[in-house]
């Protein structure tokens, strides 16, 4: 018995030591996957003499589940814009000190006062994106609207995203309704559309569709612009379309958690990410659209004028920022999603 306890304590001690920093200040950053360049973090560590714990997540919920406890250990996280307000409500966010962010003016004007935080009190926009249709140019008529995804000619070669918000949103837009609709009757109509579409679908895929587009298994996919661009890089016969009926926009923001005791260092990190060369490097490797105007100016011409990542103003006008979903609607949508999947 005693022997057992000693061994266990010893092992835990070893584990603790192993996790201990080598004396440098620490910063814990939790970000989306594929949102930094290979050397972004390393350069920050070298320049500021700190050690960064960098981990990634695949969904807001995954991040929120950890962060909601108020004791997660993370300093900087990157929620999507429609989670900012709830996070404020739950008192999870620390205020952003503009004085510590001299690079803030690098952001595009529209991100200097975005609709979800007009004075940037709690967040700093980082990357943004949209959802649309990725397709193989070999199809006779390129899809240009959500309605095209219900066409029988794509039967078995079409995928949709495995995301209730995105799928119901696409259905709503197809019906010329608002992506953010909370009207029960409209949602029911959208649900019927989704169920009608299901026989045409290959699958609901969030990540695997990229490889399948490249390999030619599927011809058309409901896709995020970023992922589509990555696929296009590998297979030039692919293309991306911003649907005519409209499309959802999302913005991922850097926030500092209230529980973090390292606000100073967190601000330095965010300021570092706002540097034009740093942001430009990230765009180059991860094919994401940055909110940083100064960085866009540094990009090579091909990337700067890439309409998949940076659509023209005319196209952008058709976009809709995703709204925060009220609780009651959330319940209804979740049930609908289960019904759609079980159909």
């Amino acid at each position: 018995m005693k022997q057992r306890l000693n061994r266990r304590t010893f092992l835990m001690g070893v584990a603790g030591l192993a996790g201990c920093a080598r004396g440098r200040p620490r910063l814990n950053v939790y970000n989306w996957s594929n949102y930094v360049a290979p050397d972004t973090i390393a350069n920050f560590e070298a320049e500021f003499g700190v050690r960064v714990r960098y981990a990634t997540y695949e969904s807001n919920e995954e991040m929120l589940a950890k962060v909601l406890s108020g004791n997660s250990g993370w300093d900087v996280v990157f929620p999507t814009h429609n989670r900012i307000q709830p996070m404020r409500q739950y008192r999870l966010l620390a205020p952003i000190d503009h004085a510590r962010l001299p690079n803030l003016p690098n952001l595009e004007p529209r991100f200097q006062s975005p609709p979800w935080d007009p004075r940037l009190e709690y967040c700093v926009p980082y990357m943004w994106g949209a959802t649309g249709i990725a397709y193989n140019r070999s199809v006779a008529l390129a899809p240009a609207a959500w309605a095209d995804l219900w066409s029988a000619r794509f039967k078995g070669r079409l995928t949709m995203l495995d995301d209730p918000e995105e799928v119901l949103g696409a259905c709503l837009l197809k019906l010329r309704l608002s992506y953010n609709s909370t009207d029960v009757a409209s949602l029911r109509r959208a649900e019927r559309e989704a169920i009608a579409q299901k026989p045409l679908l290959r699958a609901y895929l969030n990540a695997e569709y990229r490889d399948q587009l490249v390999a030619g298994d599927i011809l058309v996919a409901h896709s995020w612009a970023t992922t589509a661009q990555q696929a296009i890089d590998a297979a030039p016969q692919l293309g991306f379309a911003y649907p005519a009926e409209g499309f959802p926009l999302y913005g991922d923001n850097a926030v500092v958690l209230r529980e973090s005791g390292r606000a100073e260092l967190a601000h330095q990190f965010i300021n570092y990410l706002l540097r034009a060369p740093v942001a430009a490097a990230i765009v180059q490797t991860s094919r994401t659209a940055t909110a940083n105007a100064a960085a866009q100016a540094l990009l090579p011409e091909a990337l700067r004028s890439n309409t998949t990542l940076f659509p023209t103003a005319g196209t952008l006008a058709r976009g809709q920022w995703i709204a925060t979903m009220p609780g009651a609607t959330q319940r209804l949508r979740d049930r609908m999603w289960t019904e759609i999947k079980s159909a």
Binding site: M12, G19, N28, N34, R53, E58, A65
Partner: protein, 252 residues
């Protein structure tokens, strides 16, 4: 009949190992997509350059070793105690823990830890992962040792007592050595289960306790590079070698 059985076994082994073969082949693919584009060792090189991989592998190793040691000791003791006189309650709950879906186990442990944070000032970390791993691997150890004990005769211990030993000594010098092969097998099982766990670990891991399965999972879900293929191939080779060596040691 024996020949057919042998052929059949070969087919089943092929079924079990085909994905591994695919992984190994594509770990040498120069393209990051699943279309063969030439032989290359880039991914293997990338493994050794990736700091996160190294750290997570180290975490996984610490967790697996710690959890295995604890669960093997506790499990062996438990199996022995139950062999002396059973306990429906303990057996039942061990069984339940074994067959509980991982997601339920993970969520309930997360709930427990987060609730305990109000009183104990700690966070999720290596320690919570180790505690969780012991929770689900104890049952494996108990079952393995119990199976072994069923072929063990209590008469041997009685003989030891007759010769003047006390109960603890009887266990220590008679039963324990006989159980050793079973203990090794059980430990190996617990090690495997712990090393490969993703669902439960991802829920109770903290900032500094990312494990190899978590990193692999993140990479794989992103549809990212064949680095994971290379890692998997390496793991199979390393552990396959370990198994072969332990077999040689056991046989000799």
């Amino acid at each position: 009949m024996k020949r057919w059985l042998g052929l059949y076994a070969a087919a089943v082994y092929l079924f079990l190992h085909l994905p591994l073969a695919i992984l190994a082949v594509f770990s040498f693919n120069s393209s990051r997509f699943t279309v063969w584009q030439g032989f290359s060792l880039t991914w293997y090189r990338a493994i050794f350059q990736d700091r996160q991989l190294g750290e997570s592998a180290w975490n996984s190793a610490i967790i697996a070793v710690a959890a295995t040691i604890i669960s093997t000791m506790a499990g062996t003791a438990c199996a022995y105690g139950l062999w002396k006189r059973g306990s429906k309650l303990l057996s039942g709950s061990l069984y339940l823990s074994l067959v509980t879906p991982e997601i339920v186990m993970g969520i309930s442990l997360l709930a427990l830890f987060q609730w305990s944070f109000r009183w104990l000032h700690w966070r999720l970390g290596l320690h919570t992962v180790i505690l969780a791993h012991v929770a689900f691997s104890i049952a494996y150890v108990v079952i393995a040792i119990a199976a072994r004990l069923r072929t063990f005769s209590p008469a041997l211990e009685e003989a030891a007592l007759d010769l003047g030993a006390n109960e603890w000594q009887a266990f220590r010098f008679v039963t324990l050595p006989a159980l050793l092969p079973g203990i090794v097998a059980a430990a190996l099982l617990a090690l495997t289960v712990s090393f490969d766990d993703y669902v439960i670990t991802s829920m109770v891991a903290g900032v500094d306790s990312e494990t190899l399965p978590m990193v692999i999972y993140a990479m794989a879900r992103r549809g990212a590079s064949p680095v994971i293929n290379a890692i998997s191939a390496l793991i199979v080779v390393v552990f396959g070698a370990l198994v072969l060596i332990s077999e040689r040691v056991r046989a000799s």
